[in-house]
């Protein structure tokens, strides 16, 4: 359900005039800038009557790029915030560079509360 929401949010995701593919878990296309997403874990948020009433889903959004990706970071934050997600700075990564592939990599983590 959340995946459907994410797919809908990122339909025709374009940053600075460039279309950026967003896919679940892995990307198998040919673009050199892309985003993958996946659920990382869930945590209980509210319990009642010996059951979980609400919980929080945590999602990672991994940006891979061979160029400047700052505007992609800002676009993702803004889109997800507008759709009820909350950015989790402490669960997000710093900036990575993979020397063997030439990719920059940054992980942004977002939380969304859901009812059981």
């Amino acid at each position: 359900m959340i995946n459907e929401l994410i797919e809908r949010i990122f339909t025709d995701f374009t940053v600075d005039g460039k279309s950026i593919p967003v896919s679940f878990l892995v990307y198998n296309g040919k673009a050199t800038t892309y985003v993958t997403y996946q659920q990382i874990h869930a945590d209980d948020a509210l319990g009642a009557d010996d059951d979980i009433v609400a919980y929080v889903d945590y999602y990672d959004f991994d940006i891979y790029s061979k160029g400047n990706y700052i505007s992609i970071v800002e676009a993702i934050k803004s889109l997800l915030k507008a759709n009820g997600f909350t950015w989790q700075p402490i669960k997000s990564s710093g900036d990575f560079y993979e020397p063997d592939t030439g990719y920059y990599h940054k992980t942004l983590n977002f939380a969304i509360e859901r009812s059981n």
Binding site: Q38, H41, Y58, D62, S93, T101, T107
Partner: protein, 147 residues
């Protein structure tokens, strides 16, 4: 004019003094208790490849320390320093930085053969950490600070 004078009982004043004088010890012990919860969970959540690797020797709790900017009291759970990798196909062991290897597992890479295996972030369970910290608060304050 009516006057009312109230004195706090000596015992309460002594209790306040005891708490005030022992805040660093109490807060330090609380962060340590919380960090121990995370340490145990990280240990349980590490990728299978870590279990018989020397990287586990680099995992530890920091000393309790104060951050100068805000006087915050902290205890860190960390993978710190370098370790010898398992032998490669030539039988050679390499020295690798533990935090870098942890980051690769935690966040993955663009290469599909290295999918992410988050183990560190998901070890921070807020409810379990708070419970341990409150228990430490109660015991370190001699029962004066309870919840």
């Amino acid at each position: 004019m009516a006057k009312f004078k109230m004195e706090l009982p000596d015992q309460i004043l002594k209790d306040f003094e005891r708490i005030y004088g022992g805040t660093d010890k109490i807060f330090g012990g609380m962060t340590k208790a919380g960090a121990e919860v995370v340490y145990t969970r990280v240990k349980a959540n590490v990728p299978a490849a870590f279990r018989d690797s020397d990287i586990m020797k680099t995992m530890r709790l920091s000393k309790q320390y104060k951050t100068p900017t805000d006087d915050g009291i902290n205890t860190q759970v960390m993978f710190d320093g370098y370790f010898y990798t398992k032998p490669d196909k030539y039988g050679k062991r390499h020295i690798a930085p533990a935090p870098l290897v942890c980051n690769m597992f935690e966040y993955g890479s663009s290469k599909h053969k290295y999918p992410k295996h988050p183990f560190f972030r998901k070890s921070f369970n807020k409810a379990a950490i708070e419970k341990a910290m409150l228990e430490a608060q109660k015991s370190l304050s001699g029962g004066l600070l309870d919840d």
